[in-house]
């Protein structure tokens, strides 16, 4: 694939939001649509979500994550969405310049008429919830463990405690049980389940995995590797209930304690974030405060169902395409005014040709050197003279005005640029 310098729509990320945005943008008439993905294949986190439950809204089918992703991947490929894999976006500017890097292409600079941010979210980590105790190996986020078990073929351990009753945590409890591990406990600091009730039934109840609400990890025990954790009950204000401590021997602690939209790039592009969601503030077109930069999916707020991410992606992609088409149309109609012989500058610098239809446009300029004899100021498109104005003399201190009239529209509409030269009469 040859990389272009300018795209109609560039989508950052190829999870469900990004894939839907790219497909929708292409279908809505965007010419060149590019997905930039940092992983080595398209699909995002759906690829490690091998459990079913995806697509009930979108396809009226109960699909596993990889199958759901594959439908969009195949559609994107079929309609000619371009893809850059294994490529990290480093920076985005408010002028929609994208800087990226990859082993294959080195440093990449791309301009885009519209951008869709679809970077998804990241898991909250141990330092972010400040679990006391030693710092041994064996404490992982649930999503990391999910990738190891489902994609890379590693087990994080054999005796597992899970902190947090989010969906990924519960799904990993079942998954690790399937692979022969013993899940000792799921601890939840709130007094309610934070994931879906159906996952409590089919992931915990089905396998007799105990869930303890209002419980958390008081400390991690072990020097080089986790040997146990100390669980403890908490009250409504999350204060430890003395005497409720229990040491649970285990070799792995998984954290399923929330997701945070990933918005480092959005910040660099000048996108305003909502402190509550952690994602961009968007309008009903999913456009951010930066003109032409859209955002969709978990990068905006953390969703419960992938189907809604897809829906948001479609909408953002559609609006990104409409924006790009409008920008392209404007670029097409917008031509530069070039200062030629003895013309120092012209204002305006550019001209939207459509405005000449029915309107006069005044071009104002100054000459570089005085000429004390009759001259023409000629407006032409290459060799084709469009109009000219006679002056008895020209001086840098005195501005010259040339008026383009609706009569000139037919000729100007064919021009790629207009040049103004001073010539002697």
């Amino acid at each position: 694939m040859t990389l272009k310098n300018v795209y109609d729509v560039v989508v950052i990320g190829s999870g469900p939001g990004g894939l839907a945005a790219a497909v929708a943008a292409k279908k809505e008439g965007a010419q060149d649509v590019l997905i930039i993905e940092r992983d080595v294949e398209l699909g995002g986190i759906l690829l490690q979500c091998i459990h079913n439950g995806f697509g009930l809204e979108t396809f009226k089918e109960d699909l596993p994550g990889p199958t759901y992703a594959e439908r969009f991947i195949k559609e994107a490929q079929a309609i000619g969405v371009e893809v850059l894999l294994d490529t990290m976006v480093l920076d985005i500017t408010p002028q929609r310049k994208i800087y990226a890097a990859s082993k294959r292409n080195g440093f990449i600079e791309i301009e885009s008429r519209s951008i869709v941010l679809a970077m998804g979210c990241r898991e909250r980590t141990r330092p972010q919830i400040r679990i006391p105790g030693s710092r041994p190996a064996g404490v992982y986020s649930a999503g990391t463990a999910q990738r190891w078990v489902n994609v890379e073929g590693y087990m994080p351990g054999n005796r597992v405690v899970i902190l947090g009753s989010g969906d990924i945590g519960m799904i990993m409890a079942r998954r690790l049980t399937f692979e022969g591990a013993k899940v000792e406990r799921v601890l939840e600091v709130m007094d309610y389940l934070t994931g879906l009730t159906r996952n409590y039934v089919q992931c915990l109840l089905d396998f007799d995995i105990p869930l303890q609400l209002r419980h958390t990890v008081k400390r991690v025990i072990g020097n080089t590797h986790v040997e146990a954790i100390e669980a403890v009950q908490v009250d409504a204000k999350w204060n430890v209930v003395p005497g409720s401590e229990e040491v649970i021997p285990c070799d792995t602690l998984l954290l399923s304690v929330g997701l945070i939209p990933e918005n480092e790039l959005s910040r660099k592009a000048g996108v305003i974030l909502d402190p509550i969601t952690g994602g961009p503030v968007v309008d009903d077109n999913f456009q951010t405060n930066v003109h032409g930069i859209f955002a969709a999916g978990n990068v905006v707020h953390v969703y419960d169902l992938v189907d809604w991410v897809t829906e948001a992606g479609y909408e953002a992609g559609k609006c990104a395409a409409a924006h790009a088409i409008e920008v392209r149309r404007k670029e097409h109609h917008l031509i530069p005014l070039i200062a030629g012989d003895n013309v120092r500058y012209i204002v305006p610098h550019m001209l939207d040709k459509r405005n000449l239809e029915g309107n006069e446009i005044r071009l104002q300029m100054r000459v570089s050197k005085p000429v004390e004899q009759p001259v023409w100021l000629e407006v032409h498109d290459k060799n084709n003279l469009i109009t000219r104005r006679a002056e008895r003399y020209v001086r840098p201190g005195e501005m010259v005005t040339v008026v383009l009239k609706p009569d000139h529209f037919a000729e100007v509409s064919k021009a790629d640029s207009l040049t103004i030269d001073m010539v002697l009469r």
């Binding site: 489902n150 073929g153 399937f178």
Partner: protein, 122 residues
Amino acid sequence: MKEIQKLICISCPKGCTLEVTVDGDTVVKVSGETCKKGVDYAEKEISDPRRMIATTVRVKNGFHPLVPVYSLQPVPKPLIQNVLKELRKVELTAPVKQGSVVLENVLGTGANIIASRDMPAK
């Protein structure tokens, strides 16, 4: 002897709480459901509980060392561990096509286990 059991429907993410009146293995009455799936689920859950299975099998020469698979039809709950045992014996060779059958009618359950995605060769 009639008794009332509480079940949580797992047919969709809504997770409705169902009150199921059963007489032995027969469902007499279901309440609390918000769609027809709830009634079907309750009847099935009382007489023959089944679950979808999603796991991975090894793949030789694949882009990844594993390929995710799932049961196209739900399998009886008591047989889950046995089905997983069968799948542990399987080793595919890349390339694998999404939807290709990995185990047909696994353990006579009527369920086919199929590949969840394409797995290109290395």
